[in-house]
Symmetry: C2
Subunit: 610 residues, 2 copies
């Protein structure tokens, strides 16, 4: 498709990890492009090339060469790493730019917590206060032996802990707290310093973490970050493809995730005012691709059929081996996975949602870049899970004015006679559309007759605007929005949305069929995930994204994967239950499921399924 | 003491790790200095500055700046690391030079084996042949789970092993050998590739290693190397002092030992024609300082009273964590120690010598830079050990023409009416004197009346030569020797020898007294250590170095520490016995033992104690 000569040439600029895209004319500065996209870059000098705060990193494409001002404000190694000042760099091709958090005025909304029922801690770590006599020529026992004499018999320690004991014991006159994990000392601390733990949900797009007091299970701090691997692929398959380019690719992805986790640990411990060495245990969940990339496990066998993991077992890995500063002997406990890409995050969701203990037939859906779906059939004693590649549309990717749920994202939409009522994140001026807003917009366009059931705009409708690239609907005009252009939803956006919907519908349908379940047998639907928490169920039902069941059967539980990770962090019983869930849940492979493609095509329709 | 003006100024040149010293006039090349010291440096061009083979590393002192020839033959980073060509560098101060093995025409004699009784293997590693069906879409089990389904229940693996399985399994069509250590897979290998193990004695001066077939316990290869830490101190205290200069010091010493161990593994596996990944277990012994430095354990508390180890426990450390290429999950098992500097090597010696199962009172002596002494009193059910700093005189250090037992070292001496009969290592022309030769020389000088019982030369004796620095005896004249100067033994050398002898005698005496044992109660004396194997017991008795017991009660067992390490490598029962030995052996601290100094002074005499 060639562009008509009357339209001036433009280049597309992608801002990562925000996921916002804008078209600009050649030689537009990146700062200006960001402004047009509604992204508030820090530029305290107002773009006068003097503050050096609007740093961005070039990921792809060409911009003007660094000028003298940039050379003065950036170091040689920063320039070599692709750092540029957005106020100076001018767009000269289609480009992809990474915006570091420090360059943003406000961050992105990250739901880090979810519903959490009461839980009696049964922690894997116990704190032992102890006191030992200092060594003398008449009592020259070695440090470790001196310490363990004051602990239950048979206690041992790894080398890094032995190293820690010698200095800490002398600093605190042999009065210490020892953190024990079964018979292993994972760290020592001054008297009174109790052990804390961190639960992590390592998502394809977002990383959410929670710091917990391991003695009583209370949450002391929460934090979130975008998964920085996103610059190397938005979905799991493109990440794996990048990792398979060679050892450097896999190494880069592992290092990015590990560094971000380590920064989150720093953030959490600072918030809670505890020492890094008090972090005595970490419990981590993620889908199979995310945990494999983090742990630098082989992925070639996972990237193509038959999609085999290196392992789905629960693992105990030293935090230090992943570059995480914590108690020197601390472990990262990775929950077990089930099959294919259905990994530890799904097991955690089942654990948090209690899907293994349901009294009635329950469907669980965790919408994300990969959507995991589970059906609990207590009458058959069976749990069956599957996963479908719903793509990143709900994260705002591949949508013209799509963006993630950051400040200024339209998250809810209701059309009126003459316009649209919008709710934006942080109530900031609208600059784009996130997943929940997208669902609302589609449902409202259908309701008001602007869109038909096949997902086509009614070109003749007076509120549908005709543009050279096709029909579109204006959600927010440049005047009311925070962007220099209108925020619109185009025919192409609707098509992208339909692809995601088709995948989810086909997944649910196939799972129900494979288990011999009719939709009306389902007594409860658990909607998990950060995105699911903001979803308008009524609208999702109206367009047939969710099975046609009474609204009351739906339960939105937020980031259940993180809640499950927190359960397993503080409770050994919960770890055993996670093991049992992983062992008992059957995995349904969709790629070979009969008529999956036909169901997918049918699922793309936008009518209610009632 | 000022030097008379008539004697031209000279600078002392120390060649490490050979331990040979020579005095040269200013501007002598290092190549010439080495020749005078009898050290055969590789110089295929004959010193014409063109072959670049005579590389040495400057450790201390000044030589002429690098000339153009050196700049052409050495890289920039080599020059920065202190590399020089011996043919070009001219001595301009007292210097200390490291000679890499590659620059030597012949290596040093290293006794790597010792007496070894038959032993039924009871190895910590078992090899399991297995075969598994390859994955399909209908059987998409993960790799580790697929493998362990063919192994005993409950088998697990660490991350590096999981990484290895994925590729190895596919290369060999899921037909593999798994190496199991209890319930842990430490590595996988092609079908038929059996596990091997390596026993290591990490000595202050020498490292000896032995490669063993773990299925039947047979030795497949042996190798030895000098401990390269020697450039940073000849005895344990000076090494610890260097490590305490800062993290860089400790890091350097750890890295040197680890690199040499890794090179020895390479040497052994090449000799035996096995793959590095077949090395499934390593068993290592050394004194407390050596194991602490290798493992990067803290040493400040070990370097001063009350000389406390970080731990004396047996340790299982991942080979990979020490930079050793082996099976990805292989462990280094470090045997337990006893107390102070009496470490795992001593426990191994007790194990190999069967000191814990003696039917009669037995004394064990392992002569080295540190000399460990043990007394077994089966009648009292007691083992008592101690350690004394005998210093490196027996290794040739601090002795004018002293050297280690390398090619050309005089290792045995018998005086005749008119001269001296010499036995040298490799029967090469004599260039210096090693420990066993020193003992012979002192005994012969006493026997022929050239030396009195207080260790003084009889200046009037016609065979004693008078020099400005004092009396001396010519063992080999420049004409007959391989050196350009006479090989002599001086009054100062005798004094150094007496210090070492005093320490050993005081150690033995104190130990006997502390255990209420009279010398004649001792029914057997086990002489261990590489040096001990070459010792002339008759001569050692004649000068009172060893207790006055019939020659028949002495047993020379060679490197018993390595034999003990090999026992523990192939037998779990032997590991248990080592644990029991470490737990039951009492440690006698000599620094605070009554009258130790007086005994030391008395022990310096050179009379037989009969």
């Amino acid at each position: 498709m060639t562009r008509p000569a009357t339209i001036p040439p433009t280049y597309q600029v992608d801002f990562e990890p925000i996921g916002k895209r804008v078209d600009v004319t050649p030689d537009t500065t990146l700062l200006e492009a960001a402004r047009r996209a509604g992204i508030a870059l820090t530029a305290t000098c107002g773009g006068m090339h003097s503050c050096g705060r609007c740093r961005v990193i070039m990921l792809a494409g060409h911009v003007s060469p660094a000028d003298e001002g940039e050379k003065a404000l950036l170091t040689e190694s920063e320039l070599q790493s692709g750092y540029r000042l957005a106020c100076s760099a001018r767009v000269q091709s289609r480009v992809k730019v990474h915006v570091p958090p420090a360059s943003l005025v406000t961050g992105q909304r990250l739901q880090v917590t979810g519903e959490s029922a009461g839980l009696t801690p049964d922690p894997p770590i116990w704190a032992y206060p102890l006191e030992a006599p200092p060594p003398t020529l008449h009592d020259p026992r070695a440090d470790l032996e001196r310490l363990t004499a004051a602990l239950p018999q048979g206690t041992g320690a790894s080398l890094p802990v032995v190293r820690q004991i010698t200095e800490t014991a002398r600093t605190h006159d042999w009065r210490l707290t020892a953190y024990l994990r079964d018979a292993e000392i994972v760290g020592v601390a001054p008297p009174g310093a109790g052990p804390v733990g961190v639960a992590v949900d390592l998502g394809t797009t977002k990383i959410a973490a929670s710091l917990v007091d391991l003695t009583d299970g209370t949450e002391l701090a929460a934090a979130g970050a975008l998964n920085p691997q996103i610059g190397y692929g938005e979905d799991v398959i493109s990440r794996l493809t990048y990792a398979l380019r060679g050892p450097a690719g896999a190494h880069t992805l592992a290092a990015l995730a590990r560094e971000t986790l380590d920064a989150l640990l720093g953030d959490l411990t600072a918030q809670a005012e505890v020492n890094r060495t008090q972090v005595a245990e970490i419990c981590l969940v993620g889908n199979t691709a995310m945990t494999h990339l983090l742990l630098a496990l082989p992925v070639s066998q996972l990237a193509s059929a038959p999609y085999v993991a290196a392992t789905h077992r629960a693992l105990d890995v030293r935090a230090a081996d992943l570059g995480l500063a914590a108690a020197p002997g601390a472990y990262v406990h990775v929950l077990p996975g089930i099959g294919g890409f259905v990994g530890a995050d799904h097991v955690a969701m089942l654990l948090a949602g209690g899907l293994d203990e349901m009294a009635h037939v329950t469907l669980g859906i965790d919408v994300g870049t990969n959507t995991e779906i589970v059906l609990a059939r207590p009458d058959q004693g069976a749990l069956t899970s599957t996963s479908c590649a719903s793509g990143p549309a709900f994260e705002g990717a591949h949508i013209g004015h799509g963006m993630r749920a950051a400040s200024g994202a339209i998250e809810a939409v209701a059309l009126t006679e003459t316009g649209a009522q919008l709710k934006t994140v942080d109530d900031a001026p609208a600059i784009g559309l996130c997943g929940s807003g997208m669902i609302d917009a589609v449902a409202e366009l259908r309701r008001w007759g602007l869109l038909n059931a096949r997902g086509r705009f009614e070109r003749d409708h007076p509120r549908v605007r005709s543009e050279p690239h096709g029909p579109e609907f204006v959600l927010a005009s440049a005047a009311q929005g925070g962007s220099r252009s209108d925020v619109v939803i185009t025919q192409k956006d609707i098509n992208e949305f339909q692809l995601a919907k088709g995948a989810i519908c086909a997944g649910v349908e196939s799972l129900l069929e494979a288990t011999g379940t009719s939709p009306e047998d389902v007594r409860e639907v658990v909607i998990a995930g950060a995105f699911g928490a903001f979803l308008n169920v009524q609208n999702a039902l109206a367009i047939g994204l969710l099975p046609p069941l009474p609204h009351a059967r739906y339960r939105q539980v937020g980031n259940a994967a993180l809640v499950g990770a927190r359960y397993a962090l503080v409770s050994r019983r919960m770890r055993e239950r996670a093991q049992a869930i992983a062992a008992q849940t059957r995995y349904l492979e969709l790629t070979t499921y009969p008529q999956f493609k036909r169901r997918f095509a049918l699922g793309m329709g936008l009518g209610s399924r009632e």
